[in-house]
Point group: C2
Chain length 402, copies 2
């Protein structure tokens, strides 16, 4: 039985958080967050595959080799990306300052940044910010922390779930940011998970990779990520369960719990997608292979013509067919079945008429629905989530910095 | 000396054209075009790589094996795509009817269709249309023909160029349609070229492939094309030049002429891109390889964040850097040089400040400019053309069929 808690990243035992306005953002919005654990524990991470990673990503990858974490320091308003050697010096100084304040080794501090690319971090503000943060660490700090990592997000994204594993209650808390998810590959997505589970670092890393691939990477695009994308999970072991060190039933239980937290945050990012009015599940079945299925899902989930048709609630299935055909994998037109929720609109190589289209139009007016495409060629399957492409997306992105 | 003529697809000797309203389109707009040559001649073609090709593409590929053409019949308002076996029967009937009217073998007739996918062609209207067209064939018919192949295009796109090759005056005429070119891969692009040059069919095919790759395929996306994309070039040999059958100086002269015609039509398609307010040249130099250069150009030319920044005239070069980094090829951030026209905005791993950004903003307000990116890694180069992503793109595509 998974229980949802009204909390966030501080829900597990031993975690505190804070969020403040340091001045990195020119508005009054919060722009720095700190999350700490009373004791160190194993940490797992999944980072961007962008070949120009931001400084905090370079530092994080290096720190992850030791595999131990105790604090997360994140700023918004500045991505510390494409900032050269100074950028790395700044990221390291952030970790060092937090380490000093908390009296812990600096490799236990993980840095995250999100915002504009190519502008040096205003370090005097950052330094003052870190001092202010440490004095504000509290349990309810999860709210401010989740606020402080936002950029174009319209609302904070937090989750807390709890389940008994063996005889012990294990909790996962989480927060995420990300809003330019209409083309998620180019927007920074940050997600932080905390847990009091006792788990081996290698197991945690393996599990986070699997779960991230099924959740965050299904709203993001295979291998195409921003300069800053990061998912971290810190486990301080305070729940006292017997250590998860094999892929046994506790491993599976905990993985389901982690999946629930990550899936929720991923969907929250979708729902808050820049300018998005709808969240759509794209479900590919009976493809020749899983790889083909993923490519079909990817092409549909990123097709501007499909996404504008969804915005306009236009059951223009021809665009879906055209997108499938340009995905690079063979299809048999006569075997394609296209359904919106449970209503089939294309079958046996042709559309099923205007009466059906009228029904589908109504489904397309809902805030969320599923587009199912069966290809009749094998057992390959994939599911991705996407949003519609709207006027507001253009509005937000034509004047992001103005 | 290349001379521009105020004409179109009928400019070369022996060509006639017509355009009419048959009723396929529900508005009063022209929707069927016919182009004929007095005598047959070699024809070359380049077709979509979409794995669900439309019926006219299937027929055209088959007819091209014989390599002889004499007539082009094109309808707009209906793509005859995803229309099953009936679709192919309809395309064949169109060729047959034209052949009968002109008293020529049916394999010399090439069919083109563009418009909505998945709707059967209204054959009674098409049949009447073909009868009407043959009686209207004239030299000035190039205007109506270019009108009749339009879909969301806001204006016809025609060209006529002329040059002496040896002692003979050789002319190329052309017309094209295509407007959803903001993501050209999903919009139908049709381009038809006629010439009175005397040229071997194999040479013409080789040349058209080369020129299409440098022009239409640089506004389109490598291998990702609509169900109907077609470029055809019909040469009736009436100019009387000595046959072009080797890659000699006449070959090169004629290729330059063909390049000029195709480049102009490709740029016209860009300029008339759905909702586009700007045409941008993306120029990649000093990439590690040509392949890498093409991929960088492709990623930039299709990045919604880059294209919305261009719409907003926002010199947000961070988005260019992020797009380069997710292209899948390695880069050395410190070697990247980014310029808008002749103004360099990024060098030595960082931006060059707000004064420069102000200058670049002014360049970005122009209807056309070049983004040059030098990667400092080798001799790979590529150029692509794209448009900005605007409110009107959403408007056009959210309600295309409504």
């Amino acid at each position: 039985m998974v229980k949802r808690l009204k909390s966030g990243i501080t829900a597990p035992k031993g975690f505190l958080a804070a969020g403040i306005h340091s001045g990195i953002k020119h508005t009054e919005q919060l722009d720095m967050a700190l999350v700490t654990s009373d004791i160190p524990g194993p940490i797992a991470g999944v980072f961007t595959k962008n070949t120009i990673p931001a400084a905090p990503v370079i530092l994080g990858r290096s720190n992850l080799k030791k595999g131990v974490g105790q604090a997360l320091i994140i700023n918004s308003g500045n991505a510390n990306a494409f900032t050269g050697t100074d950028g790395l010096v700044h990221a390291k100084e952030m970790a060092q300052l937090v380490a000093k304040q908390l009296n812990i080794p600096k490799h236990r501090v993980f840095v995250g940044s999100t915002g504009v690319i190519g502008v040096p971090l205003p370090m005097p503000l950052v330094r003052k910010g870190i001092s202010a943060l440490t004095s504000k660490l509290r349990k309810p700090g999860h709210r401010d922390a989740a606020q402080a990592i936002m950029t174009t997000d319209t609302r904070p994204k937090t989750i807390a779930v709890q389940q008994r594993i063996g005889r012990k209650l294990v909790t996962i808390g989480g927060m995420a940011k990300g809003s330019g998810m209409i083309h998620p590959d180019m927007a920074t997505m940050l997600a932080y998970l905390t847990t009091d589970a006792v788990i081996d670092q290698k197991m945690l890393q393996k599990m986070l990779r699997t779960v991230a691939d099924q959740t965050f990477n299904c709203i993001s695009i295979d291998g195409e990520t921003s300069t800053n994308d990061t998912v971290l999970c810190l486990a301080n072991g305070m729940a006292g369960n017997s250590t998860i060190r094999h892929t046994d039933s506790s491993y599976e239980q905990f993985q389901r719990l982690l999946h629930e937290a990550c899936h929720y945050l991923a969907m929250e990012i979708c729902r808050d997608g820049e300018g998005a009015t709808k969240t759509i599940e794209v479900k590919i079945t009976e493809a020749a292979s899983h790889k083909a299925a993923r490519q079909f899902a990817h092409t549909l989930a990123t097709s501007p013509l499909v996404k504008t048709a969804i915005f306009g609630a236009d059951p223009n299935w021809g665009r879906i067919v055209a997108a499938l055909g340009r995905s690079g994998y063979p299809v048999r037109p006569e075997r394609i079945v296209i359904s919106f929720n449970n209503v089939t609109i294309v079958k046996d190589g042709s559309g099923l008429g205007t009466r059906i289209e009228h029904q589908v139009k109504k489904i397309m007016q809902r805030p969320t629905f599923t587009v199912c495409i069966s290809l009749g060629m094998g057992a390959g399957a994939a599911t991705k989530w996407t949003t519609d492409l709207t006027y507001d997306y253009i509005k937000i992105n034509a004047s992001y910095r103005s």
